[in-house]
């Protein structure tokens, strides 16, 4: 038996992948367990926005500061999976225009490099934006390719000795007293059930964190909150086009490759698997998107996707008002030592989430190893298959 502690990470979305990378870089033995394909949950089906934080700089400053910090780190460590095209916040109404000063103040407060550009210039750069815009502010938004985002972290983790087992579903936890000592898994490739021992288990299953935690009979206050995104089969904008107001339905058009994604709505769901999409949400979102970019009306609808985001419940507020920040839970106090949950957050902040949970894991294991992920460039996602 190796003396190096073994950590099992459940989930190969952005959080799990980044966590595996962080822990492997700290010298731990890591095994990632994912029930399906990597990034097949929330990470895959988001609008692929590399947040500058502009979207949250007024009503969720904590989230916004995390965003801009991680945005700048990701630009350094995984340039091969990012489209760095910046974002444009546009005011389409008087209320939006009135919001501008608040918005700019929010950006300044969160250290988001925002630059107001004249409307005429904005329309020259983005000729398909609503010509009636009143103001435009450029921020360092970007776009990431979600599958390659996770694969890059995992590939680097594998290079540092981690094992990644996709299509391997965790069925139960193994306890010794009040300590989690391993998991029971079903390998879908072979149809066989096996047990894996672990010194620590990280539950990085995002919107599914509550379901996994329930297997260990502990609670996490994660509320799966669905969002619908509509993809249009053409690309009309260079930058990410945001509406300059408090985040609302259909107020963002993210261009990725040759498509545009209109996002997004928000409603609570009971199960994060296979969400039914309410028809009226699609229509209302297309209308809101067309307000930003009238040409979207002419665009061919390519697909609709819905997925549950993991929002951390803090108060009994409306789903939008939840913080988009993340939270780590050490379940030792709930009678499940050796199990840690990390959830909430966004793909943009995955590395930061990994750093936080990895610190807890190392603390529990009594290992003094600093986080090195801020400055370590990731290898190509293709090496995931090597």
């Amino acid at each position: 038996m190796s003396l190096i502690p073994h950590v099992i990470v459940i989930g190969a979305g952005s959080t799990g992948s980044a966590t595996a990378h962080d822990l492997a870089l700290r010298g731990l033995r890591v095994t990632v367990l994912e029930r399906g394909e990597i990034a097949s949950g929330t990470t895959g089906r988001n609008h692929c926005l590399l947040h500058s934080g502009g979207r949250y700089c007024v009503n969720d400053k904590e989230g916004a500061i995390e965003c801009i910090r991680e945005n700048l780190i990701l630009r350094r460590i995984m340039p091969h999976a990012l489209e760095l095209n910046d974002g444009l916040f546009v005011a389409v109404s008087d209320e939006d225009l009135a919001f501008k000063e608040t918005f700019l103040a929010g950006c300044a407060e969160c250290h988001i490099p925002a630059r107001e550009i004249p409307v005429r210039q904005a329309l020259e750069i983005e000729p398909f934006v609503n010509p009636d815009i009143r103001a435009a502010v450029q921020v360092p938004d970007g776009v990431f390719e979600p599958w390659r985002f996770c694969a890059s972290f995992l590939a680097t983790a594998i290079k540092n000795g981690a094992a990644v087992r996709n299509f391997t579903e965790v069925k139960d936890f193994i306890f010794q007293g009040h300590t989690v000592t391993g998991v029971t898994v079903l390998d879908h490739r072979t149809g066989e059930t096996e047990t894996l021992g672990a010194d620590m288990v990280v539950n990085a299953t995002g919107a599914w964190a509550g379901i996994i935690a329930a297997m260990a009979e502990v609670d996490v206050p994660v509320v799966p909150t669905a969002g619908v995104m509509v993809t249009i089969g053409e690309r009309f904008n260079n930058m990410v086009i945001n509406r300059m107001h408090l985040p609302h339905d259909g107020d963002i058009v993210v261009p990725i490759r040759n498509t545009s994604i209109i996002g997004t709505t928000s409603w609570r769901v009971t199960s994060p698997d296979a969400i039914e999409i309410p028809r009226e949400q699609i229509d209302s979102m297309r209308q809101a998107g067309e307000l930003l970019m009238p040409i979207l009306k002419a665009g061919r609808q390519r697909g609709i996707m819905a997925v549950a985001r993991p929002l951390i419940s803090k108060a009994n507020a409306d789903a939008r008002a939840f913080s988009r920040t993340f939270e780590a839970y050490n379940h030792r106090s709930q009678g499940a030592a050796g199990l840690v949950t990390i959830s909430g957050g966004k793909t943009t902040t995955a590395r930061g989430m990994a750093e936080k949970v990895s610190d807890i894991v190392c603390g529990e294991l009594g290992i003094d190893a600093p986080c090195k992920t801020r400055t370590t460039p990731l290898v190509s996602y293709r090496e995931f298959y090597n």
């Binding site: 895959g44 489209e83 979600p146 149809g191 296979a274 996707m305 298959y385």
Partner: protein, 248 residues
Amino acid sequence: MSITLTLRILRSRRDVMPHYETFEVSVSDAANVLDAIEQVWAHRDRKLMFRHACHHASCGTCAVRINGREKLPCIVPVADYSGKPLTIEPLRNFDIVGDLVVDMAKFFQNQQASDFVITRPTENELVGKPIAYTGGMDPESASTIPFNRFENCVECGICLSACPTMAGDHKFFGPAGLAAIKRQLDKTTDPVERKRLLELADGEHGVWRCHSAWECTEACPQQVFPAESIMALRKEITKKHFRELFGK
């Protein structure tokens, strides 16, 4: 409105020979085929193995064969088949990992061989430049559309499945890998790198193995035009051979 759809899915596992299983699911009439496959997994059989991530044709993971044709099910509406049963099979010409999942390892090694990166080199020159919407793509403008900063190729493997040469010769470098070489060649003027790339595309199982069925270009969901790339590489390599023949 929801419709009932019959899916005939090719199932297999390391210990289970390939066989078809039929499932009935209810999906929205606006759904894409991937949603129907996901419904089978969610409500009929949680053991179903399939790949998916982005659901908007960016990741390239979900490629399967629908009624014998290679597709990205995330962008194929179920309405296209007007309620007829769908036969869903994994891609051909790859080893099967299980059900609809195939082994992409060799594919990605070939993609990597040319150091093909999916971000375009013009990235930094684009900031602040006006965009021009051209409406639809052809082989020439598809690689130069100024505001798409990712390469068109999503590395889904569809072209390899559609390729008749790939069916016979597993050593063939494959349309995607050759198209990647062509894109890298477009991006570099360094003679040493160009020589390396041309030599990579050359060889008995390189561009010369292609027999011009053009199925890769026909099947490609992303306007990569691999067959056109292969032809362009042949021309370049033939030129290089002649130059070498005359000692240059």
